[in-house]
Amino acid sequence: MAAKGTITIDQELCKGCELCITFCPEDAIRIADGLNARGVHPAEYVKQHCRACTLCAVMCPEIAIEVYRE
């Protein structure tokens, strides 16, 4: 069974490049409706899909994502 994990996204660091969304194999990340202080729609984590593969964090240019594994 695949590992279960979770991520945290620092939405104030996010610049909305959407790379994490592109490279996430589980579609566990989406663009938020709200804006951050930079004026961009940041990425947000859609719960219960993450398998802690860290691909989003590896590609995140802003180091806004931290990954946890059970």
């Binding site: 610049k15 909305g16 490049c17 959407e18 995140c60 180091i63 994502i65 931290e66 946890y68």
Partner: protein
Amino acid sequence: MKKIFSRPECLKPTPFHYCPGCGHSILHRLVAEVIDEMNLRGRIIGIPPAGCAVLAYDYFDIDMCEAAHGRGCAVATGFKRSRPECIIFTYQGDGDMAAIGTAETLHAANRGENITSIFVNNAVYGMTGGQMAPTTILGQKTTTSPFGRRSNVEGYPLKITEIISTLPGAAYVARTSLATPAKVMATKKTIKKAFETQLAGLGYSLVEVLSPCPTNWKISSIESFKYLEERLELEYPLGVMKEVTTEKGS
């Protein structure tokens, strides 16, 4: 829950000034992770370029010294010769290394200076507004080649990594890319290998990293990663071009 991915210790918690989707930010993190893993933080000195990464010293929590435009390898030579116990790396863009700094870079490599250069190739001058660089590929549109680069007018892309790989002083020369997560992780291993080459005292090491520039390529960040993989990697094939494993006699 165990934390398995977070910010490397030798990067300050300063938000990057780079554009959304920029490869510099990813590469900064990779360099910082390698420094952490090899436990080099107390004895590594970095030399940032003139270009987009000119403010790299704001992000790395290590000793850094800014060099004049293109003179990274000359400054690194001075550092290495006066403090041979330190690990010295230059972080240079394509304008810094392949245009204004060609002489310093080639001669440092030819002297076999025991330093490491990390060469970020995004095929365009980023900081000054997207002008044509020596590494711009044929057909690529920039603000100074608005109809696409033509070989009969602007010449051919300069492959400085291939040139350096022919020099006897170079010990490790490789080209990697940031196009996919697998290639990003391979880039990290290559940077580690370059630092290990320097630690072993084998000579000059160079890692060219193909990097996206969505702002000056004037496409979205996701499209820029596709362009990187489909176009830039064709012009600049990835791989290790030279690897010396034993020390040469003097």
